[in-house]
């Protein structure tokens, strides 16, 4: 992998990958850097590059969290860390970044990781399924259920479905 490709990957995916790794560990930058270096050491890049990166970051973040033996403490402190997940929003009509982070932090990690991969990583449900060794339908169901929970926590109204007769 050439420097230009790596730079493009960093620009495009690094922030979302760090957010993803942050779901498990408190050193997400290290985990993402390690994953990118692992990619550079490969002779041929993987076919599904983005799911591969997410999978490596996921495994690395879980390992980092285990190694630090802070999982219990980390989960207890998640509410304090949550506001750092997003840059402050300057859009007055948009969602409050802190409230959104706190609501996300309350979700089960299996649901949250799918939401993070889809909304901020831009992965399709097929790619998410590849990352998690699951099916796209299951991932979509979890995603939809997670959105419903977030809707309740954030007090956002359910969208009205347009039914054609």
């Amino acid at each position: 992998m050439g420097p230009d490709q790596l730079a493009e990957l960093v620009d495009r995916y690094a922030a979302a990958l760090v957010l993803y790794a942050r779901q498990w560990c408190d050193s997400p930058e290290d985990v993402v850097q390690t994953a990118l270096l692992k990619l550079c050491r490969l002779r041929t890049p993987p076919d599904n590059l983005v799911p591969w990166l997410y999978r490596v970051v996921r495994n690395g973040a879980i390992d980092a969290s285990r190694a630090a033996r802070r999982r219990h403490k980390y989960e207890a402190a998640a509410a304090d860390i949550a506001p750092k997940w997003f840059a402050p929003s300057y859009d007055p009509t948009g969602l409050d970044a802190r409230a959104a982070a706190l609501a996300l932090a309350d979700l089960a990690v299996e649901t949250r990781e799918i939401i993070v991969m889809h909304l901020w990583g831009g992965l399709t449900f097929e790619q998410i399924a590849q990352t998690l060794d699951s099916s796209a339908a299951t991932c979509y169901r979890r995603y939809a259920a997670g959105l419903e929970v977030l809707r309740q926590k954030l007090g956002v109204e359910t969208p009205v479905k347009n039914e054609t007769k």
């Binding site: 992998m1 930058e29 901020w120 339908a137």
Partner: protein, 68 residues
């Protein structure tokens, strides 16, 4: 999965507009480390060649001095 995905949920759209906090790592340091990582195999090869050459030279030196 269906070929026709459901229309975008307004909450999902609003959430996706939140920017993840910028990553905190040094881009230049990462590029340098990536360059080193990419060259590890070549460096290992040349190290092996160098060690081999030293061994061969040592053997010849030993043979040269013991035959005298």
């Amino acid at each position: 999965m269906s070929d026709h995905p459901p229309p975008a949920d307004p909450l999902a759209v609003a959430l996706s507009k939140l920017d993840p906090a910028p990553h905190g790592f040094d881009r230049d340091a990462l590029m340098f480390a990536a360059g080193s990582a990419a060259k590890l195999r070549i460096i290992a090869f040349w190290k092996a060649v160098a060690v081999g050459a030293v061994l061969v030279a040592g053997i010849f030196a030993w043979m040269y001095f013991t035959q005298k």
